[in-house]
Subunit: 344 residues, 2 copies
DNA sequence: TGAGGCATTCAAAGCGCTTTGGTTGAATTT
DNA sequence: AAATTCAACCAAAGCGCTTTGAATGCCTCA
């Protein structure tokens, strides 16, 4: 069933039917109802492509997920972020188009999206330091919004980020207050912008107490469970092992816990752990009392908000760029406690 | 830059340019090259919507993720499945359109997709027992493929599934061979089809050895870490606790391990654990020797294959329905060992 | 009574592509 | 030399919608 047929069935012109369905004022209430009823009865839905062609809007947002062929890793926060964004889209009548793209094809893909005009805007995931995609998109001239930021980049753009620096600063402070001196940072890959900011938060907190960061205690890797596990194992064999760990995600934190317990130690007593917690739906941090002390910020909520910001920008392209900095909450769980007395 | 402009620039008709770009034979090689060069130079990309309108193909596949508003859980396998499917799509030139839909709106959304014609086919995720979506889609008449199957449903359709029953049967057998008699099953929600099949595998294996399944040992819940943790805690307080656990995903298995170690026991010695492992990229089961003994089947690969099957079906709608049953591999890790001697 | 205003409705153009059904002129055949 | 074939190209229709610019008929008001 298409417009033409529906109009014929109603004895009306396509114009009137189209207007009736799209809520234009120049249609009498009586016919509007008649049209609505008929449309409903026949299950009429305007063809997206035809409508898009006529209006010039795709009513779709593109999500480009960078994928590196080496380590075929899907960012675990991705599902939750998408779920949040999806909520916004379905309310606003947008579709979500997902594409995974290898790093070296990013530019090409953006230009393609622009040319093919199958999206009205783009959400950029996992920005790197001084991410070239941002300048690229500005140049191409397509609305976009970034989940995170890119340091070293001037020029305004839409972004939403967690205050990574302050979160890690506070987490480090919290450990320092408990008497910990040697705190091991299990960061994400330093090419990622968020990891860079987190390290600075950690370093600043130490510096504020006159402690020089020990490079051996600052790791930066892909955030897997094994990463946490292995790191603790290695650290335990050093002369002066850390008494606390600060991890960038709950996944390596789980590995840290495993290594601690396998060594016959008790997390929260012998060794303290704080993690950043993206509040993923399938990896909740305990229930009543959180398992890990954590700096928490919901990725799902970030998705919801960033999608809203992008849509707003699309509807008002000349408006100022929208930015939002979320503060993480520091919630105390069972994984932290005072630094143990020196036994040596 | 659109076709018309490009054609004008070349002094050719739109027809010829279109044909040159789409590889039709009735264009001389010389002009074809000339056209290709010009298109490249001006960054010409055919407008998706216009092309779709003309061809009647959307060149997009819809993924509908059921979302229950109660427990806002995003299926953790989702990211990896999508990543796999995405690989196939990008090779075949398809876009992926994602929508999350509450259970009660599913039918409406499918009809909408059909009416709006913005997808050429649909991938159905997480089928339930006798899932009504399948009959619905057959009736609506839109190509689709299911990741999993729906028991109690006759009539052919495209699906790809892991042999859940045989996987759990083999896992249970493995534990029985090690002398375990009381094996606790931590299944997913029994409304899900895969959970139903897994339970049957478990029960059959027990029955084959003359053991009547103990209902108290068969749990079925949302597969969280806490679920695994709590269950073991509860079980340990019973008169006759299980000596082995069989979990439906690596996430509850992590919870099981935590409870075991917190109780001062050793996994693989005092208590055995087998899990089904979807081979998620961010939750790898150890590296050299797997942490958990597991029945493994890559979800990412499933995504790749199912997407291929659907595209094949779209290109040849009259062909027979495609089905594929994958066998999981049973890999031995460090989490299983002989049942401990009775001490009572 | 006739001009102007208003509420409804419509025909047709246009969005950018593919595809049908030609046309043209050169090469080949008879 | 006329008829046929063929390669290469083109004009125009059509996909299903929105939107522009008119048309229609009924009221209202001077």
């Amino acid at each position: 069933m298409n417009l033409k047929e529906l109009a014929a069935k109603l004895g009306l012109s396509q114009t009137t039917v189209s207007r009736a369905l799209n809520g234009y004022p120049e249609v009498s209430e009586a016919t509007r109802l008649r049209v609505a009823a008929a449309a409903d009865k026949h299950g009429y839905r305007p063809n997206t492509r035809a409508r898009g062609l006529a209006t010039g809007r795709a009513m779709a947002i593109g999500h480009v997920i960078p994928i590196s062929s080496q380590h075929e890793m899907v960012n675990p926060i991705f599902g939750d972020f998408i779920a949040g964004a999806g909520e916004t889209y379905s309310k606003a009548g947008y579709d979500m188009i997902l594409s995974q793209v290898e790093d070296h094809r990013q530019e090409q893909v953006y230009r393609e999206m622009r040319g093919k005009r199958n999206v009205d805007g783009i959400i950029v995931h996992a920005p790197k330091m001084g991410d070239s995609r941002i300048t690229m998109l500005q140049e191409i001239g397509i609305p976009f919004a970034v989940h995170g930021r890119a340091s070293e980049l001037t020029g305004p753009y839409n972004w939403l980020d967690v205050n990574n620096k302050s979160a890690f600063q506070r987490a480090t402070d919290f450990l320092l207050d408990l008497g910990h001196k040697r705190i091991c940072l299990l960061n994400g890959l330093e090419s990622m912008d968020f990891a860079f900011r987190r390290r600075h938060g950690y370093e600043d907190a130490l510096a504020a107490r006159g402690i020089t960061p020990d490079p051996d205690l600052m790791l930066a890797e892909e955030m897997t469970e094994t990463y946490g596990y292995r790191t603790v194992q290695k650290m335990m064999q050093t002369a002066n092992p850390p008494t606390a760990y600060l991890t960038s995600s709950i996944i390596p934190a789980i590995g840290v816990r495993r290594a601690i317990e396998e060594a016959g130690l008790k997390m929260g007593k012998d060794i303290s752990v704080i993690t950043h917690d993206d509040d993923l739906s399938y990896l909740r941090n305990g229930e009543d009392v959180p398992q890990f002390t954590a700096t928490r910020s919901s990725v799902r909520d970030a998705g919801r908000q960033l999608a809203e910001m992008l849509i707003q920008q699309i509807n008002n392209p000349s408006g100022p760029p929208l930015t939002r900095l979320l503060e993480a909450e520091l919630t105390v769980g069972r994984s932290t406690g005072p630094a143990p007395e020196r036994t040596a």
